[in-house]
């Protein structure tokens, strides 16, 4: 579904991503982890076309992302910090987004998160007046709204309350059974453990390991994701 080939990115002299090669398939739920500043968000932004790579190429559904923005129809994105136009009301945001996505017919909308997170209750509020967690809820509902086959979630659970957190995780697990591809970054490994079946670890822009959780379990004979990561890092 997503194919990344020898990707490099520098901000000035600072190397952010160095020779990344990755291949993600449908049905995979990727935990993209690594210390702060390891390039996780940059990688995600490059996939979305928000940041432009220095060299290397990315294919989404066999299509080079440099050929045009249409590949983004398949991607639902939940940013790390949800920042919306302050003056806009929640319902206006959804109206705007529907307006921008004429390619998705109305009966294809995925309203489950919109309903279970009760976005309808806050639809007349200004986006600027929402708390960080509420913005994340709106953002999560929006990422799923147009029924994408790929979901990219950047720190989705950090600001959410326990209940919304569970709702989102249930939704992620459910979308795995529908053969979607999910890429999640987070520092809360306990959350990731419940929803991911594959781990990609970045350190200083370099891919340190890229394996399924099953394989990691065998390698490290640990059961918890955080222990596996620690064990692997100590080996290196």
């Amino acid at each position: 579904m997503i194919n990344i080939q020898s990707l490099n990115k520098n901000y000035g002299k600072q190397t952010v991503l160095k020779d990344i090669n990755l291949s993600f398939k449908s049905g995979q739920s990727i935990a993209l982890i690594g210390p702060n500043g390891s390039g996780k968000t940059t990688l995600i932004k490059i996939i979305l076309g928000l940041v432009i790579a220095d060299n290397g190429s990315i294919y989404v559904h066999e299509k080079d992302i440099r050929t045009g923005p249409d590949y983004r129809r398949e991607i639902g994105y939940m940013p790390q910090m949800s920042r919306f136009p302050e003056q806009m009301k929640v319902f206006q945001l959804f109206r705007l987004m529907k307006d921008m996505r004429p390619d998705v017919p109305e009966d294809k909308y995925d309203l489950t998160l919109y309903e279970s997170l009760k976005i309808d209750k806050i639809k007349n509020k200004n986006l600027g007046s929402l708390s960080g967690g509420m913005k994340q809820q709106v953002s999560a509902a929006l990422a799923y709204y147009f029924n994408p086959s790929i979901l990219i979630l950047d720190e989705p659970t950090a600001a959410l309350d326990p209940l919304s957190n569970e709702i989102l995780k249930t939704k992620i697990r459910e979308s795995l059974t529908q053969n979607k591809l999910i890429i999640t970054t987070s520092h809360i490994l306990n959350d990731l453990e419940e929803i991911c079946n594959h781990v990609v670890y970045l350190i200083e822009g370099k891919m340190t390991f890229n394996e399924s959780i099953e394989a990691l379990k065998e390698k490290t004979s640990e059961n918890k994701l955080n222990k596996m990561v620690v064990a692997l890092l100590q080996k290196k």
Binding site: L48, L50, P69, Y71, I75, P79, P85, M100
Partner: protein
């Protein structure tokens, strides 16, 4: 692209700053004609205001608006929308809002009290200036990612075109007063869109008679139809040039 453009205009209409700008222009526009019995003088007052206030407000507001739209831009670019379409939509939306405010605020009273070639040329200059300074503001804000620095550069740019440039030009003329410098000065004034707008309007009014001998070269050039066409063309270059640079930068910018 149209959808983005409509959304920007809709957003701007809700914005109090653009409404304030329109009210300010209307008050000045109607007020000057009510206070001044000679419409010719009123037009010159409006010209001065157009040349000073319009660039200042257009450039600062557009710069602020771009930085404040960062979220909006990120939100839309995560959707299947071309970057090119977004920046064109942004530019068109802001330009329509500013030119509209000027047309309604200053244009209406001008046409009402003083319909004639002078008013038409002032209205044309005002609209062109709005387009020029919106483009320059976009150029600044796409190149400078820091908001405070961007605003600073926008203000310096305004000051440069509003009076620093003229000061330098005067210095140049004063130093070389013994030589026939009318032609070079004419060329140099094309480097400043505010000057082009000023000359374009003044040459249409009787005030041009007071420009003296060196003014005759200007008079010859600008009062004719070629002069008007050339100055409008140069103004269009001042719109297209900065806009295209901003467009190019926006296409390959990290957001």
């Amino acid at each position: 692209m149209q959808k983005i453009c409509f959304n920007i205009i809709y957003d701007l209409l809700k914005n109090k700053a653009i409404l304030g700008y329109f009210i300010l222009l209307s008050m000045v526009g109607w007020g000057v004609f009510m206070l001044e019995s000679q419409p010719e003088k009123a037009l010159l007052t409006l010209l001065q205001i157009t040349l000073m206030v319009l660039p200042l407000i257009t450039i600062t507001f557009t710069t602020i608006y771009y930085y404040n739209s960062n979220e909006f831009i990120l939100l839309l670019l995560a959707q299947p929308i071309k970057r090119g379409a977004l920046i064109i939509g942004l530019y068109t939306g802001i330009s329509i809002a500013f030119s509209g405010a000027f047309l309604l605020g200053i244009g209406l009273p001008l046409l009402f009290y003083y319909p004639g070639i002078e008013s038409i040329s002032l209205i044309t200059s005002g609209v062109l200036l709005s387009l020029v300074f919106t483009a320059i503001a976009l150029l600044i804000s796409t190149y400078v990612s820091d908001k405070a620095r961007g605003m600073g550069i926008a203000l310096i740019t305004w000051a440069f075109f509003a009076f620093i440039f003229d000061g330098l030009l005067l210095l140049f003329m004063y130093q070389l007063a013994d030589y026939p410098i009318e032609k070079p000065v004419l060329m140099l004034s094309f480097l400043n869109p505010v000057d082009i707008a000023r000359i374009l309007v003044i040459m249409k009014t009787e005030a041009s008679a007071m420009l003296g001998l060196s003014g005759a070269v200007f008079q010859n050039f600008f009062s004719g139809i070629t002069g008007s066409i050339v100055s409008v063309l140069v103004m269009i270059l001042w719109i297209v040039g900065p806009y295209l640079m901003a467009h190019r930068k926006f296409l390959r910018k990290d957001l």
